[in-house]
Symmetry: C2
Subunit: 457 residues, 2 copies
Amino acid sequence: MKPNFTLRLRVFNLNCWGIPYLSKHRADRVKRLGDFLNMESFDLALLEEVGRAEPVWNPGWRWGAAEEAGRGFLPGIFNLLLKVWSEQDFQDLRQKLLPTYPAAHYFRSGIIGSGLCVFSKHPIQEFTQHVFTLNGYPYMIHHGDWFCGKAVGLLVLHLSGLVLNAYVTHLHAEYNRQKDVYLAHRVAQAWELAQFIHHTSKKADMVLLCGDLNLHPKDLGCRLLKEWTGLCDAYLETRDFKGSEEGCTMVPENCYVNRRELEQFPLGIRIDYVLYKAVSGLYISCKTFKTTTGHDPHSGTPLSDHEALMATLCVRHSPPQHTSSPSHGPAERSALISVLREAWTELDQGMAQALWWATITGYVIGLGLLLLALLCALAVGGGIREVVILLWTPSVGLVLGAGAVYLFHVQEAKGLCRARAELQHVLGRAREAQDLSPESQPALQPGRQEGDRAEEQ
Amino acid sequence: MKPNFTLRLRVFNLNCWGIPYLSKHRADRVKRLGDFLNMESFDLALLEEVGRAEPVWNPGWRWGAAEEAGRGFLPGIFNLLLKVWSEQDFQDLRQKLLPTYPAAHYFRSGIIGSGLCVFSKHPIQEFTQHVFTLNGYPYMIHHGDWFCGKAVGLLVLHLSGLVLNAYVTHLHAEYNRQKDVYLAHRVAQAWELAQFIHHTSKKADMVLLCGDLNLHPKDLGCRLLKEWTGLCDAYLETRDFKGSEEGCTMVPENCYVNRRELEQFPLGIRIDYVLYKAVSGLYISCKTFKTTTGHDPHSGTPLSDHEALMATLCVRHSPPQHTSSPSHGPAERSALISVLREAWTELDQGMAQALWWATITGYVIGLGLLLLALLCALAVGGGIREVVILLWTPSVGLVLGAGAVYLFHVQEAKGLCRARAELQHVLGRAREAQDLSPESQPALQPGRQEGDRAEEQ
């Protein structure tokens, strides 16, 4: 690496709103997105909500080798059942972008699919993914997040002798900000995301995270992620910003956005991000940052209900005045401790809620069993036969259904408990570090109650 | 780090066979295990199948803050429903081992729990975990693996200025070696485990993996793990071995072992491992390696149905004749390519099987819907009312049940497809590297069919 070395990295991010049936003008938007990406020729295009195709009969469709081999047991109409989960949009984009972006990957997970994919001008050295432990509830079918298997995807690229770890993610949606039943799950996801980045990027020279976090900049999950990983927000760091007001990524000007949902936020909301950091003697600056503004970059309808983000990052040797890694002074530690404490409380409340549901469903199981016993007694005693016949199967259904929900919430509580234990450990270590810097000791004494408990890891 | 520096690390591993109701003499064995660990004072004790406690009323029992806070909605008998998933054995051991092993962690996951835990003489700097995407089938209740949420746990320790990444894991059990329906899942787990280690240990000086892999040394999953991570097998590396014949970790002498299951293997089987590697100019040797031999180290019944492993590792500066990281010569590359190809085929077959099940359940859904339509027609037409009443709910149950199984197998196919894509990418890169070394080119031409396909990542 030469002393006057500069690496320029142009990055694109978009939540493509590619939900079949629900998303309007999907095919047209995907086509125009492909044209735009080809024209702009970014280094990396990271996309979310891609590849949820319609179950249309298409003999050229390929998902994997099972179909490629043309095995005889997947004939006719039942093939359609599989096609609904295919990644047709991704494959179409892949074909179209191949000359400009020779490397591409779709991160498969869940039932519907994570929707995460990436197109790269540079060869992808390695990739892997981590599916979030908690991701909503299977019985909230109308929200559907559980079926997507939301995840974080990791790509390792080698650029001019430097290792870039690029992450793409999409966290659980927020359906009701006033009464957000998914808050604990989103905080747990933000924590898992931060931990995944923390543990997999230790030898990377540069870290890039793009995606739809479904978190406003001041939200707990966003602060937790930034504080624990040390990632910088490209929108806040750049001096050359062009785009929507306050960098919003869902704006009322966008004709696909439900304006009622943005009533509280007349300018829109900022929930999509380009975050980055450099390690090991390097310094990254965001030269330019652009968003679309609710319209197509050229003409016609917007590319998605979200706005696209375009960042130009410059990587240089770290000048002496910049520390290459996030500093761990008393102020940073204090901010980390504060956000960890907040997250701990949120996860703890989520856990209590999960256990409450487990208890309620426990009662329902008991009730169902009681009903079954009563029906048995009635049948033996020669009671009203029709009533027994009518009620027997619903009662069995009740016990089985409640049993499934009970098990789900036990698993949920374990998942939250796991995240809380990891968080508590980091909190304990941050406090130990803080205790060694005497100037900040007195300020934090009142809030130490959780840390003072015997650590239950 | 001094030039003549030597670090001695004593490691213990045991699958504790702590399944409530099924495992004999559990409480007594856990007690004796605690005594033994205290007496031997290892640096690290990594345990599997711990903490599946009985649902016994115990007012002192603690799982997390929800109970600690004594919230009123978890009274009486329904508390028991939660206690079945508690980690009482782990908590008991933790209390007992606290003076010798001040640091401990239980890796929570799934419904029953991963059963993985660790006791350390040294402070734990960081920990996290990765739950395997595929882990058997929920409807195979009698096998139960799916409910455990099998995982790999990671601990980061700092020892004499060196970073040790210690991993503990437990893969899906093998119930029928002749007709192993879980083979593809176990191969996928071995791959995920290898990938997790690969991506999280890049800056570690030493890597240690202990656990019950449920894989024989020559099994595909075991070879895949070793080839991709470069981990060495302590049993094969040591010059001072004491213990069961051929290092077996399930032996017929053990009174808890079902001898019928070992009929094919008169000496027993080796499925528990201590694996290690050093990076960055270090060299690890296994000074001594011991296993128990089907009896208690002192007296009485064995500690578990598995044998305990005890290894003494010595970490030194790498002498010039040793390469510190696994070498990547043509022979190693060829072995890696061969095992990757084998794993690719196994995952591909697993995927075909998953899609086959998805198709079958698709047919069942269709059949159920047909039956429901028929019943509707009968009801409208004033047919035999009792038949309609009798068959309506079972038909709804059939459709719902088949729907759930269908979704599960779609998810399974996606998971296998994901692992296969990652594997294929590594295979492609290994081949590229091999193509640059001309001496090994001709030998591999015939088997290139998978790699020649358009990479469907």
